[in-house]
């Protein structure tokens, strides 16, 4: 097990290195590169050369890469062109909002998907099952941004239940408690919108894996021994049926991150996704690179974590 983890860790590091190389090359090959974006068109030739030198753009590309990756490894992603601040600061400012949206939506999606999946597996072939299946199809087939728009218009504009965008009501100063409530009200719509697609997808996996597990012999044995239905499901079935879901969730991690970026764009949620979209407009390459790298680190880390969890939760799986 220990050796397996070490090998996977090394593989993950290699993957990240390859990824950073790819992304760096890609972004520096792009037309309309960094200097067109930041430089004033009326700048003299001498000033232009000075700026190029200051940003190290005259160095050969491999040298630029080595400099960048060396700095990135110690947490320095350079300066944002647009903000003229260290990229780390810019991102640190936006990170909590994304973490909040991402983790609440992920937790909600997991819990609801497991409940729905188990429910429709237990009630397989009934009206409940068909209704939930139909709803899941709808959820899977609807792009997140459409959900977002409709939710904004229905719950925000028509019903006035929730604010339509942002992370807080501007122009008011609340006491800490009401500020918190206000913030929660802003969180609800984006969180729901982001989680719906994944509830729909994951509940399908949960349904089929629960159906598989319920058919197994040990379940019949437990039932015969007189285990009550609910503990039977929760303690005996769920532990095994949730395993396939872990892999799916880990693989979908990048998709949730992408979905978070879209949701943030629709709801003007001031997180990294919105920062990413804004940085695209201003071609703020250091910020874009940093966000891409952070995204990849998370995706790869969670894939690794999923494989390890897999072994922990299912003792039948042995890695060598």
């Amino acid at each position: 097990m220990g050796r397996y983890i070490i090998r996977r860790l090394l593989q993950a590091l290699l993957l990240l290195l390859l990824f950073s190389l790819g992304m760096f090359a890609l972004i520096h090959l792009l037309p309309g590169g960094p200097e067109q974006v930041i430089f004033n068109p009326r700048l003299s030739a001498a000033g232009r050369a000075a700026l190029r030198a200051r940003f190290g753009l005259d160095d050969p590309i491999y040298l630029q890469y080595l400099k960048w990756i060396g700095n990135a490894l110690i947490g320095n992603f350079g300066f944002s062109f647009a903000d003229n601040q260290p990229v780390t600061n810019v991102i640190a400012e936006r990170f909590p909002a994304t973490l909040e949206l991402f983790s609440t939506a992920l937790a909600l999606a997991l819990v609801v998907a497991i409940v729905i999946g188990v429910l429709s597996a237990v009630r397989q072939g009934t009206v409940t099952d068909y209704t939930l299946t139909t709803l899941a199809y709808f959820g899977i087939s609807m792009p997140i941004f459409l959900f977002g728009l409709l939710a904004q218009d229905i719950f925000g504009v028509y019903l006035h239940w929730f604010p339509t965008s942002g992370t807080q009501t501007l122009g008011y100063t609340f006491d800490p408690f009401n500020a918190f409530i206000d913030h929660l009200q802003h969180l609800i719509l984006p969180m729901l919108v982001l989680s719906i697609t994944f509830i729909a997808q994951w509940s399908r996996y949960m349904r089929s894996s629960t159906i598989e597990v319920v058919k197994q012999d040990y379940m019949r044995t437990a039932r015969a021994k007189g285990v009550a239905p609910v503990p039977l499901l929760v303690r005996h079935a769920l532990r095994n049926s949730v395993i396939p879901l872990i892999t799916v969730v880990a693989i979908d991690f990048g998709a949730v991150a992408g979905g978070a970026a879209i949701t943030e764009g629709v709801f003007q949620w001031h997180g990294m996704g919105l920062l990413f979209l804004d940085s695209l407009d201003t071609r703020d390459y250091p910020v874009l690179l940093a966000i891409l790298m952070i995204g990849a680190v998370f995706v790869i880390a969670f894939n690794l974590l999923a494989d390890i969890l897999y072994a922990v939760m299912d003792p039948r799986i042995r890695y060598s």
């Binding site: 390859l18 998709a255 970026a261 990849a296």
Partner: protein
């Protein structure tokens, strides 16, 4: 489900020995394709999806022959012709400059469907090629190709899509197709690799090799047809997924841009007028939803029809 239904799906080879003993039990001999088709036909949701797709394609591609209103005909002469509600003259209303939304939705649909389909073909072509090479040759080639696949899979898809489209594309359907297929071949590649890894060990491959079939022929003529089922299912689902990708890109202004239209940017065009003209968002939105839903239903129906273990249900 009664016994004759179960017999329908029993492989023919197993039924034949009964021929002399109990002729009454034997069904008419059906080809593999026929069996799959029959199973698909019995799936009502999949049939509904297939019909919806046929209608959607007819609407978008043949509709303009019957509905002869120019997409770009702007009518700014009178304020009353912009943002009108759906009527007989304009079944889906008009937009802010008086263009007929019915014709616009057809034009946008042609672009969206075209992008969804062609990006699927390109992605499947490369995915199958890469997966086949990796699975067939194994070893170093497999390792290299699969690590490359892992790198592409490690990115949050939308982020990379946005970066690339902001800088590389000229916002024509062609560039959007290339971009989407560049990022969506990975699943097909993994799938095909797995199939090839398993299939290349089978006896029929050895038999074909023994009579002198070369590598390429073995891959294309002998192994690939046996992996066709999962590939077809993946391809069908991929069309829906790619239509969503295109709509997201266009919605955020990275994909198709005005004056050209797709369902995605029709939604973003219309969203500013939601309080006065909600149909401008709802019509293209509903069409995206219906198309993707239909492709998903057909894809899942095909999966069930092609799955040999689906005999009992």
């Amino acid at each position: 489900m009664d016994i004759s239904d179960r017999l329908n799906v029993t492989p023919v080879e197993e039924v034949e020995p009964f021929l002399e003993v109990t002729p009454a039990l034997v069904q008419k001999r059906r080809s593999q394709g026929r069996i799959i088709f029959d199973r698909f036909i019995r799936n009502r949701a999949a049939i509904a999806g297939a019909l919806a797709l046929i209608l959607l394609f007819l609407f978008c591609f043949l509709g303009p022959l019957l509905w002869r209103i120019d997409t770009d005909a702007i009518n700014v002469t009178s304020a009353s012709s912009s943002l009108t509600a759906p009527s007989l003259q304009h079944p889906f209303g008009t937009d802010d400059v008086g263009r007929d939304e019915f014709a616009r939705v057809m034009a946008g649909g042609r672009v969206s469907l075209l992008i969804g389909l062609s990006s699927m073909f390109v992605a499947i072509f490369f995915g199958v090629g890469i997966g086949a090479f990796a699975g067939y040759y194994g070893g170093v080639i497999d390792n290299l190709l699969m690590r490359f696949t892992d790198v592409v899979l490690a990115v949050p898809l939308y982020l990379l899509l946005f970066v690339l489209s902001a800088s590389f594309t000229d916002h024509t359907p062609k560039s959007v197709i290339i971009l989407i297929s560049l990022l969506t071949w990975t699943y097909a590649a993994r799938l095909v690799r797995g199939e090839f890894l398993a299939l290349k060990e089978r006896e029929f491959v050895l038999a074909a090799r023994t009579i002198g079939a070369r590598n390429f022929r073995l891959m294309v003529r002998h192994i690939l047809p046996n992996a066709a089922g999962p590939i077809i299912v993946n391809a069908t689902l991929l069309v829906g997924a790619n239509i969503i990708l295109e709509s997201v890109m266009s919605y955020f202004g990275f994909g198709i841009q005005p004056p050209a239209s797709s369902w995605g940017n029709l939604v973003s065009d219309g969203q500013g007028f939601f309080d006065v003209a909600p149909w401008l968002v709802l019509t293209p939105g509903l069409l995206i939803f219906l198309t993707v839903l239909s492709f998903n239903l057909v894809g899942d129906g095909l999966r069930d029809a092609l799955d040999p273990y689906m005999t009992e249900r």
